[in-house]
């Protein structure tokens, strides 16, 4: 409590002055453009198209380039990937008969996409996966058994080459012990620290 008349008057003056200044700040905010983005209908682009390339949305598997190595299944820390890749008795080829990802269990950590040799399993910018049934949360990527992909030195099949290129571009984003990191140009216009 105020011990003297001066402190009493100072309390009143400080309350008035700080309230005045605070009101000036909020009044200035009233005149500014709000930073709300009216999703999803009043936006120039779809949100999914504005997300960065590294965005970790719902997983997607390109079966054309999946080699059946099961590295993603082993790397997943929450066991949400189930793959069946038996060897076909007649053709001695590896077949992919089942590739299920439970996107409700998935924690979108990205650990499965790192060890993939071709970038078949990757995150997409899609994030709207809400649905009404639990069963639809399990994405089954194999419709009918397909042969696993055999990586070649140079891919010539025109159906597969662009998919492989995108997969390798996805993998290139990850840092590797051999690749040198890029230099960052110092910004000339930065203010003093």
């Amino acid at each position: 409590m105020a011990a003297s008349v001066r402190e009493y008057l100072r309390n009143i003056a400080e309350t008035a002055m700080t309230a005045f200044e605070g009101m000036a700040v909020t009044c200035s905010h009233f005149l500014r453009r709000p930073s709300t983005v009216q999703y999803p209908d009043r936006m120039p682009l779809r949100v999914q198209d504005t997300l960065p390339f590294r965005y970790r949305g719902i997983l997607e598997v390109d079966l054309e380039i999946c080699t059946g190595c099961l590295a993603c299944e082993r790397a997943c820390p929450i066991d949400c990937i189930v793959i069946d890749a038996p060897k076909d008795k007649q053709t001695k080829q590896m077949l992919l008969t089942r590739f299920d990802i439970d996107i409700a269990k998935c924690m979108y950590c990205g650990l499965c996409s790192e060890p993939c040799p071709t970038g078949a399993i990757h995150h997409t910018p899609e994030f709207e996966g809400a649905d009404f049934s639990l069963e639809s949360m399990v994405r089954r990527y194999v419709k009918e058994p397909v042969a696993a992909y055999k990586p070649k030195k140079v891919e010539t099949d025109p159906a597969v080459a662009p998919i492989l290129e995108r997969g390798m571009r996805y993998l290139d984003e990850f840092a590797s012990p051999d690749a040198p990191g890029g230099a960052v140009e110092p910004d000339e216009t930065e203010s003093a620290a």
Partner: protein
């Protein structure tokens, strides 16, 4: 929860011959201003509290036990959830302890990437902390301004690692992604817009007389109490102790960076009160901005991750590492038995100790002050319970 041992004798006849009774209130797990699921059993005499007994465990998810099941690499996304508000520090702690066990050196550029991510996350975490503190005290606007800035930070971190809250950015041996092209310009532009915003924040709320009266002098925690209850981070620094793990037990590239360690008191109030804890956090944000600018100037080229085998089997033994998280000194302890699954992982967080001191500090405070104390100690429930 049993209240055995906590009973306080009920006064039947008060000082003026009136019969009085103590009121036992439950500031339950669901409450607008306990930060997460925390519960306090409050014994109050009208508005004045006698005791506020904390009850923890509502957010326990056995994260430390899960480490023993998923292995060293697979545990990294789980560490995000130990403190999801400041997840980069948890990543850094786990990566550092695994590197210490396996004797791995992180390349220099990788360390710089870690520091950049960590300091960005520190600013984001402090924005959340001061924003929710002023919201609990009743000012609804600065909360939104703080979160507006935090959204921009979330966008920056999303560009860096793909996720806005649970980053999983660091790996054992370095970081998973290098800085994307043009990142330095974006972060520096953000910092240029951020520092005037902090000044505006001060004009709006930090100097406000009502806010100062609510916080200054409330729940003073001095040096001895802070040491006795193991408080760390901004809570300890507000008590006047200039201790920061980045300065006193340096790790990563912090020895090469110049920054101050702000201590209490703030512009108003005394050492160790709620206002000091608030002011320390505001000033730490400025220091983080300073560190970020230096990092971008000093970053060398090179790889950002070291070579670590897929089946990471560190030799048997144990290691302990401390990182300066947004909430203070976070200790990570891991025991390895030679296999690719750790034998034990233990996390020591700052919020757990802060919960304990609320019991001591709340005697004689008013109900409204309890909210101030919880907010100023920056307690987040995931850190308390893991």
């Amino acid at each position: 929860m049993s209240l055995a041992g906590y009973e306080v004798a009920v006064e039947q006849v008060g000082p003026h011959g009136l019969e009085t009774e103590e009121m036992t209130l439950n500031m339950g797990p669901q409450h607008p201003s306990t930060h997460g699921v925390l519960r306090f059993v409050v014994k109050a005499d009208g508005e004045v509290m006698r005791q506020a007994i904390p009850d923890v465990g509502y957010l326990h998810r056995s994260i430390e036990k899960i480490a023993e099941k998923v292995g060293y690499h697979g545990f990294m996304p789980y560490t995000d959830r130990v403190d999801y508000v400041a997840a980069m520090f948890c990543n850094q702690g786990w990566a550092s302890v695994a590197e210490k066990l396996g004797d791995i050196t992180v390349p220099k550029r990788g360390e710089y990437c870690r520091v950049i991510a960590a300091e960005l996350n520190r600013i984001a975490s402090h924005l959340l902390s001061v924003g929710t503190m002023v919201l609990d005290i009743g000012a609804i606007t600065p909360f939104f301004h703080a979160f507006r800035e935090r959204e921009k930070l979330n966008d920056l971190l999303e560009e860096l690692c793909g996720s806005r809250l649970t980053y999983n950015y660091m790996r054992i041996g370095g970081v998973a992604w290098d800085l994307p092209p043009g990142y330095a310009e974006k972060v520096l532009a953000f910092l240029d817009r951020f520092e005037p915003m902090l000044a505006e924040y001060d004009d709006l709320i930090s100097a406000n007389k009502i806010y100062v009266e609510r916080c200054a002098g409330v729940a003073i925690i001095g040096r001895e109490d802070a040491f006795a209850y193991n408080l760390v981070g901004p809570n300890l620094r507000a008590a006047g102790v200039r201790y920061d793990v980045r300065r006193d037990e340096p790790y990563s590239v912090y020895p090469e960076l110049e920054f101050d360690v702000p201590v209490g008191p703030g512009e108003h109030g005394v050492v160790g009160d709620s206002y000091a804890r608030y002011a320390v956090r505001i000033r730490e944000m400025t220091q983080s901005a300073r560190i970020l600018r230096q990092c971008f100037r000093q970053m060398p080229d090179g790889p950002v991750i070291a070579k670590v085998p897929r089946k990471f089997r560190p030799p048997a033994g144990d290691a302990q590492v401390r990182v300066e998280s947004a909430r203070g000194d976070m200790g990570w302890y891991a025991v390895s038995d030679g296999t690719e699954f750790p034998y034990r992982c233990k996390v020591r967080t700052g919020s757990f100790a802060a919960m304990a001191i609320i019991d001591k500090v709340s005697a004689g405070l008013m109900l409204a002050d309890l909210v101030t104390v919880i907010a100023s100690l920056d307690i987040v429930a995931p850190e308390v319970d893991r």
